[in-house]
Structures are given as C-alpha cells and as structure tokens.
Symmetry: C2
Subunit: 445 residues, 2 copies
C-alpha cells in the first residue's frame, strides 16, 4: 500500500495510464485510477499502512492509486471542487528534502465529512501546488499564448520569421548601453535590437519580416519596468505610400492578440486575478490614434506644464493613460507624430513639419509597450541625421551603406513581451512576467 519506488531510470514501459488532475471530473466517480501528483499538504488517519505516508515530505512527487468519489459539498479550497480521491496505494517517485518542518495542516474541508464513505483511512492530497505557483503557471502560459498569437497573426498577413544575430561587431545605435563580449582574440557586443538586421531583410526584398528573441540593454535602470535582457517581438515591413499602412498592421496585430487572449486564456486570466485583482483589459476597434500634439494639449488642460516638443515623462505617460481611459474608455492606444528631437537618428522626419516625425509609440494601461517609426531609407538623409546627432559615421557605415542600392520605404517597431504580459494582466512589476529576470543587480538563477 505504500512504498518508495526505485529511481525512475526507464526500467520498464508500464501499461498504467496516469490521469491528469484537471481531468478528474465527476463522470469518473467510482473509477479506480492512477494519478501522479506533488504533495502540498497531508494528514493521515486510520489505516496503518498508509500512516507511513504521513512522514512524506511536502513537495515530494507520488503516484497514487485511488478511487474517485463525488463529494456532497464543494471543496472550496481546491481546484477540483467536485471530487476527491480515496487512496488505495501510494508510491513515492521523487522524495523532496525537508524544507519546512512537517506539520499536519488543518483539513481543507469540514471536519468529519466524507469519512463515512469508506469509514477509514483518508489522505487528502491537495493536488495543486501553492497559489503562487498556480499564478506563475497562469502568467507564463498566457505569455506563451502572446507569442503564439503574435506569430500566427503575422504569418497570416504574409510575414516571414527571421533569425538575427545577437553577437555583433559594432554597436549600431552609436555605442551607449551596450554589453561587451570577449570574442576569441577580439571583442564584440550584444545586440540592443534587431533593427539593422530587420532593415537589411527589407532591403533584400523580404517585404514583411518579424522576429522574436532576446534584446540586451546595459542600462543601469532599476525600475518596475526595465530589464537588462528581455524578449523583443520585432516587426519590419515595406509599405506602398504611407507608414500608417504599417502602423495599422501593428495595431491590428495587437488587437488580434488581445482577442485571442480573451477567448483562449480566460482560466489563466482569472487565476492571476485571484491573487492580483485588476480590471479587464479594454480596447477599441479600430485602435484609437492620437497625435502627440493632442496628447500634450490634454496634459496641459489637466494642469501639466510641459513644452510642445518635450518627451513624455513616466508620470505624464501614466496621467495621459488615465485621461485617455476616461475620455475614450480604452486601455490601448497609439500616439503618433512624435517630436523629431526625441527620436533616434534613423527616424523619418514629418514631411509637413520638420519639428515632428513619422513615429509612434503604443501604450497599454498608460505604459509604453512599443516604439516604432518610418525609417529613413535614403543614405544621404540618414547621413545628415546621424551627423546632426553627433554620431560617429565610421561606426555606422555598414548601416548607412545598406540603403545605397535601392531601398523600399519601410516602417516597423519593437514590442517588449514582458511588458505586454504585465500590462495586459494589470500586474505592477516586469519581474513577475519574466521567468528568470535580469537586472543590474540580478543574474541568477
């Protein structure tokens, strides 16, 4: 009735199906089944052979032979509320070392109930791990869904997935905030974005490309939303006449992601909400688009003092998010036509007003999740703009040269995966949505 299995070394191919806990429905009542589970808590009564199981450390993994029984009263504390297992046999598959002194916890359902069914010998196994882990699992399953929806939507739109190198020989954006790598007898850098490579693919007539991969920023920023390594969802696309073709394609992709999450990940959303309550994420179709000027006017009307071509501070970004939510009832919007001065040198100037640019940011719950723009596809203008920004032309020669042999007009953007996950779920720290977060002070695990 109780035993410690030899280490599973693939000694045999047992013909003994294991039922998954989530498949234990009342329809299985009275069936004799096997379950593999992790011990969350235990209490033992009666049947002597099984009391040995009392000594089992929490977190141990066991195989349990049991009969499924319907319960009269829902077990509120468990994820399976309609059934319980009456244990016949227990085999230990992997024993946990004791982390906490073993304690018999209070039973999770009213005392005495259920006992009469078999009259004896009941071990209640909470078949799920602690709430925190349940929440984490939900967060990362939803994050997996974001990646999947992002790619599927783009592949349907005719995009091609590309793989760009992370070890690069020169810092394409001028050299600040970049990690250095020892590379055999020389040194190299970690890519801050796939920007140059996405654009090279466009110049090679790939037309529409995306990539999903790590992005590295050697910024000593210790905030709730900065990581030194995060996952970038990057898009670049040639357009016919106007960069809004690309912007609309990106907002539509985001909308498809929001809809897909809402349709397919309700269990995960609700699991996270139990621990971290938040309002459901709202969005409009088509996506709300505001010009930067309008945003500044809204902020000024709300009492903020700022210049017309000044960048948005983090508090102003958040305030703007609240103002937009009040006025338009959306948690997602695009801010278009940023002042040229606050954008990277490769941003295309606005043809109608040289102080502005063909660039945009996208926001979720008042925080930036994407930065994008029409890129300059003309080598001469690119050179002028780089000089204006005092960038060493030698260091970006390869980048500029890639536009000398016919380049289609194009635009794109980069999305931070962890931020999208955090803000969709209404969480408050990007470390909650990175499995193994990296920041200036954290390199492990």
């Amino acid at each position: 009735r109780y035993g410690i299995c030899p280490m599973v070394q693939s000694q045999q191919k047992l013909d003994r199906p294991l039922v998954r806990v989530q498949d234990l429905t009342p329809e299985k009542a009275e069936q004799q089944i096997w379950v593999r589970a992790r011990i969350h808590t235990s209490r033992a009564k009666g049947k002597p052979a099984l009391t040995k199981a009392q000594g089992l450390t929490k977190e141990s993994i066991i195989d349990v032979e049991a009969v499924v029984k319907k319960v009269e009263q829902k077990i509120e504390s468990c994820s399976q509320q309609d059934v319980e297992l009456h244990v016949e046999r227990i085999f230990v598959i992997s024993q946990s070392e004791a982390r906490l002194p073993l304690q018999l916890e209070d039973a999770v359902r009213p005392e005495g109930e259920g006992d009469e069914v078999r009259k004896v010998d009941l071990i209640i196994i909470n078949l799920h791990r602690n709430l925190n882990t349940t929440t984490s699992q939900a967060i990362f399953r939803l994050q997996s869904g974001i990646c999947q929806l992002f790619r599927d939507t783009l592949i349907n739109k005719g995009f091609v997935e590309i793989q760009t190198p992370k070890i690069i020989s020169a810092a394409s954006e001028g050299g600040a905030n970049v990690f250095t790598v020892s590379y055999f007898k020389t040194s190299a850098y970690l890519a801050q974005s796939p920007q140059l490579y996405k654009q090279m693919c466009i110049c090679a007539d790939f037309d529409k490309v995306f990539c999903v991969g790590p992005v590295f920023r050697a910024e000593d920023s210790n905030t709730h939303r900065h990581l030194t390594e995060f996952v970038g969802l990057d898009i670049e696309m040639a357009f016919n006449y106007h960069y809004h073709e690309v912007m609309d394609s990106i907002t539509d992709t985001m909308v498809q992601i929001f809809k897909g999450l809402c349709d397919r990940f309700q269990t995960e959303i609700q699991t996270v909400n139990k621990q971290y309550p938040s309002e459901p994420f709202k969005f409009l179709e088509p996506t709300l688009r505001l010009e930067y000027k309008e945003a500044v006017a809204m902020l000024k009307a709300a009492g903020v003092e700022m210049g017309d071509e000044e960048d948005l501070s983090t508090p102003n970004e958040k305030l703007l998010g609240r103002l937009v939510k009040e006025k338009y009832d959306t948690d997602f919007y695009v801010l278009d036509k940023y002042p040229l001065a606050v954008r990277p040198f490769y941003t295309m100037p606005d043809p109608n007003n040289p102080k502005y640019s063909n660039s945009y940011d996208m926001f979720m719950r008042g925080e930036e999740i994407l930065s994008g723009a029409q890129r300059i596809h003309d080598a001469q203008l690119l050179t002028e703009r780089a000089m204006h920004h005092s960038i060493d032309l030698e260091k970006i020669k390869a980048y500029i040269d890639s536009f000398r042999y016919g380049a289609p007009p194009h635009a794109g953007g980069g999305i931070g995966l962890e931020r999208v996950t955090m803000l969709y779920l209404g969480l408050h720290n990007v470390r909650q949505t990175s499995m193994f977060p990296r920041d200036p002070k954290r390199l492990t695990p």
Copy 2:
C-alpha cells in the same frame, strides 16, 4: 512618362493599388496596373520619353504603370512566363548607386517578338532579382516554416513555450567553450544551452516545455556545420515511465515538420533545387530507431575499426548514414543508447547496463541534428556523476539543488535549426542557412 519621385516620406495616402508580380496572371491581360519592382536589367527602344529610363541603375526600385499582355511564347528566363508588361509610365522610388557599369543586356526573349503588339516603346523589366537571392529567399522562407511547424506541433501536444535567459552567472556545463560578457561591475557568460532553465521549468511542474532561441558556443571549430551562434529548438518533457515517451514525441515532431515542409513549401524546395540539386528527403513512419550497438556492428561489418564504447567520428557518422539509407531507405533515424562515457554528466545511465545510457541522437542525411537524453533527476546520483567527470561541484550547486525538492522524471533534446534547414534541403554548408552567420572568423554583417 518618366520621373524621379520625391523620397517617400508618407506625404500622402495614394489610392493606387500595387499588384504583386506573382499575381500577374494571364487573367489580368489588357488591364492597366501599377507594379513596384526592382530593376534587374533593362533595354530601351523607341519612345523618347522612356529612353531616359535607360539610364536607371540596376537595383533601383521603381513604380511602373503598365498594361498586362499575354505572350505567345513562354518567356523561359522569367518567373512570370505567360505575361509581360507594356510600360506606360515609370517613377523612380529609390535609386541605386551604380555598382556595375550599366550595360544593355541581351533581351530575354526572341528578338522582335511582342513588338507588334504596341509597335513601339518596350522596356522589359525582369521582375525578379538574381537567382542567388531567389534561392536565399526560398531557403529562409522554408526556415521560417520549420520554426512554425515545430511550435505548432508542440503546442498541439500541450507544450508551453518558455523564454530562457542568455546572460547567465555561471557556466552550467562546467565552463569550457563559453563566451564571457562584461556585466556592470562583474562578469557573466552567454548560455551554451537553455538546459538548466528547461529543467527548472519541469521541476516547477510545467510538464512539457519548448523554446526557440540563440545558443552560443565559443568553440574554435571552422567546419561546414559549426557556428558560434545558432538557433536552438529545445524541448524538455516530464514522462511517466520511460524516456522513449519523450523520444517518440520528438521524432513525431520531426516527422510533422518534414510533412509540413513537403506539403506547404514545394515552391521553395524546387527553387533551391534549381541551384543546388539534391534528392528529395526521405523518412519512415514510425521513425527508424537503432541502438548504438547495432550501428557499431553495421560499421564494423563495413570494415570500420572502432571500439564498442567509442564515440562516432564525423566520417563514421556519414558512412553510417549511407549504410542506413541503403538498408532502410530513410534519411532520418534515431540512434539510441549511447555509451555513458561519451555523454554529458547529467545523462541517465542505462538501468540494464552501466556502460550505456538513456540517450539518443537524431540524424538527417547522416549528420547529427539533435542530441538528447533522459536527465538525472536525483540530486545524489547527479553529484556522483559530476564528481566522476571531475566537475567543480561548487559551480553547479544551483543546478544540483534544483532536484532536491521533488523532480519528475524527464527527458529532452536540442535541435540546431540551421542544420535541419541545410540537411533537409541537401545543402552542404550551414552558412547557407544562417542569414548572418557567426563563426570564429566572422562577426559581420
């Protein structure tokens, strides 16, 4: 009729659809359309306004207004063989700098023909770029398909996609062949594989995980199949009783990829075959599985001298591939039960023979594309094996500790994306299937 457009700065949203070259079918005959294309070669005759276009540099991008005309005789040299365009107007969108002296190339179809249709003024534009680029596009479109098929198959099997960090604090596999990164005031390493992180997810009950991302190897190997940075398709999965559950899941995933490529990427396969002819890729269902011992016996029978527990050399690997192809008519197979001595320390020993292990490699056209195994999920055995390999226990303490609190039996493997692409297409150098290859001597572009 001819003009150089101002740089496309998104001045206007033109209501002028652009037809894609691949959509120019005979059904569009006599229609007046606009096409955006890159100039491959040009010759001009007659109509004076259009002769200016003769001066256009190759590679320039132009918008062309034209009438679609059916041709009597197929234009063998073009990808669109049934129609040609009779040009009305040409606007230059992006002018290429002259790389080659301009030359009027020979016309691609019999001289004189077609002229009578409009009697005058014909510019033939080869609407596709050179063969090499066409081949490259096909290779990378197919590679995008491999990633998509890999993920879709695994998501259907209940896997979750995870994101693992590339900057790590300690080299998990002991420290050789690892790139060092300057990390603020300390130093760190680039991950040689997501091994530890995949396994941590299994220990956290994620059950089945995969990831797609860069993998870094500081090996000074200058061969046709080694890169210092490549894309790893990684799988890790808890199993019930036997690691063959995982191995079968991986071989089935590969089979789904092969089938998907064959069904959905015939155009790309044939495009590549035109430049690099190869036999179609063959595979069996279920996948052929051989034990290492059998392979050694086959090699010995073919005259190879080698020890029973010796690793396969690259020439022997290739020879084995030929022998297997002759005997079983398959380009894909699994070699199971490798000698324990030639595998990493975390490989589970074979319970029936301590000289062998629960590990496997997978091969395509006689070259290894995946290495995998059941992993040791017991901290004590893992410690013993690490000591046997003279690995500094302090450096892998976090790794070993992750198995102290109940770990499910699990197995997995890692696939090299560029190798799969190369070998599926029968190419001979992994640099052909990496857009921006990195090796000990190459860091650009």
